[in-house]
């Protein structure tokens, strides 16, 4: 294993521990909101996408119908389809690996994979992060659900701030061009503006519209400068 590979693995496990630790909060929150330990574990094992899980538990906990909770969770999960779209050419998984890759396709594994400088490191980053988050997230969900009285508020040790910092750290390497910075700033602003107006979870999804708006128009070809074969320039 090269030094670079080791550094990617360290980053991956760092993400796993940071995000997985928040699973303590999920397990606890699920049980507090009337889910059984088996239901909390079923969500972490089979849904395995944090925002969707929090959305379902949050809506049901706030007195919403299970069906509207499920709808919010699925709306949030639709971003994973875009992640798969982005990852497929990088990972090129075949057979059962493709089915496994799909389950591990989440914010964190995608962000680590696409922030790597080459395909080999992207693969290492994806699989290691996916496995690390899956393991930590599920162990933590169980621990949180079992210890609900002791860990009812993960905020006391700043875990909620850790998740925001983790998302930002994952986004950071992407902010190298004016386009990505514009999209990031616009998406963050739109999500905040929509937060009081839409049910929890949907503002994040709506912010994808910023990416669509900027990505949709075909770039105007500039005759004096050569363009990439796909017509885009960075």
């Amino acid at each position: 294993m090269t030094v670079v590979h080791r550094s990617v693995r360290t980053q991956s496990w760092g993400v796993g521990v940071a995000v997985g630790a928040y699973g303590l909060g999920f397990g606890a929150l699920a049980v507090v909101n009337g889910f059984s330990i088996a239901q909390a574990m079923a969500l972490s094992l089979f849904v395995f996408t944090g925002a969707s899980q929090f959305a379902l538990v949050g809506v049901v906990g706030a007195g919403g119908a299970a069906a509207s909770g499920a709808a919010a969770a699925l709306a949030l999960g639709s971003r994973n389809a875009f992640y798969g779209l982005r990852l497929a050419p990088l990972l090129q998984p075949r057979g059962w690996r493709r089915l496994l890759a799909a389950q591990l396709t989440i914010d964190e594994s995608t962000a680590v994979a696409i922030s790597q400088p080459n395909q080999q490191l992207a693969r290492t980053g994806f699989w290691t992060t996916g496995a690390a988050v899956f393991l930590c997230w599920n162990v933590a969900t169980l621990a949180g659900a079992l210890a609900v009285e002791q860990v009812s508020d993960p905020r006391v040790i700043g875990l909620d701030a850790a998740v925001g910092a983790a998302f930002l750290a994952l986004l950071w390497p992407q902010l190298t061009t004016a386009t990505t910075r514009t999209v990031a700033a616009g998406a963050a602003a739109l999500a905040l503006v929509l937060t009081p107006l839409l049910p929890p979870g949907l503002p994040v999804l709506a912010a994808a519209a910023v990416a669509l708006t900027i990505a949709w128009p075909e770039p105007r070809p500039t005759p004096e400068q050569p363009t990439a074969p796909d017509g885009s320039r960075e």
């Binding site: 994973n80 875009f82 700043g158 701030a161 999500a191 905040l192 994040v204 796909d230």
Partner: protein, 103 residues
């Protein structure tokens, strides 16, 4: 089976289908420049939105609390090219400290 279990099964099955769909669309669809641009920029938009909502959101309310101090620390640490763990653990520690001081 209770209503809650049905919701969990629906989210698990639907959520997996969404995850898998990205891997099973034909390659020629992926090779369109517009799709490439969308696929490149969508995670950027969603990660930025997740960061913002995670730090300033509380249900449907916008709040400025200890998490913002954690985010400030994270920005500074990232500007100084600190390792990922320093960024994340440091942000948590700063937020916890602010809460401890603020009572």
């Amino acid at each position: 089976m209770s209503e809650l279990w049905w919701a969990i099964v629906a989210v698990a099955v639907g959520g997996y289908a969404l995850k898998a769909s990205g891997y099973f669309v034909p390659q020629r669809v992926l090779e369109r420049p517009r799709v490439t641009r969308i696929a490149l920029l969508t995670p950027v938009a969603l990660l930025a939105a997740l960061t913002a909502v995670q730090v300033f959101g509380d249900g449907q309310a916008l709040v400025l609390d200890a998490r913002a101090a954690g985010l400030l620390f994270a920005v500074g640490a990232l500007l100084l090219r600190a390792p990922f763990l320093v960024v994340v653990v440091g942000a948590a520690a700063v937020a916890a400290l602010v809460r401890l001081i603020a009572g």
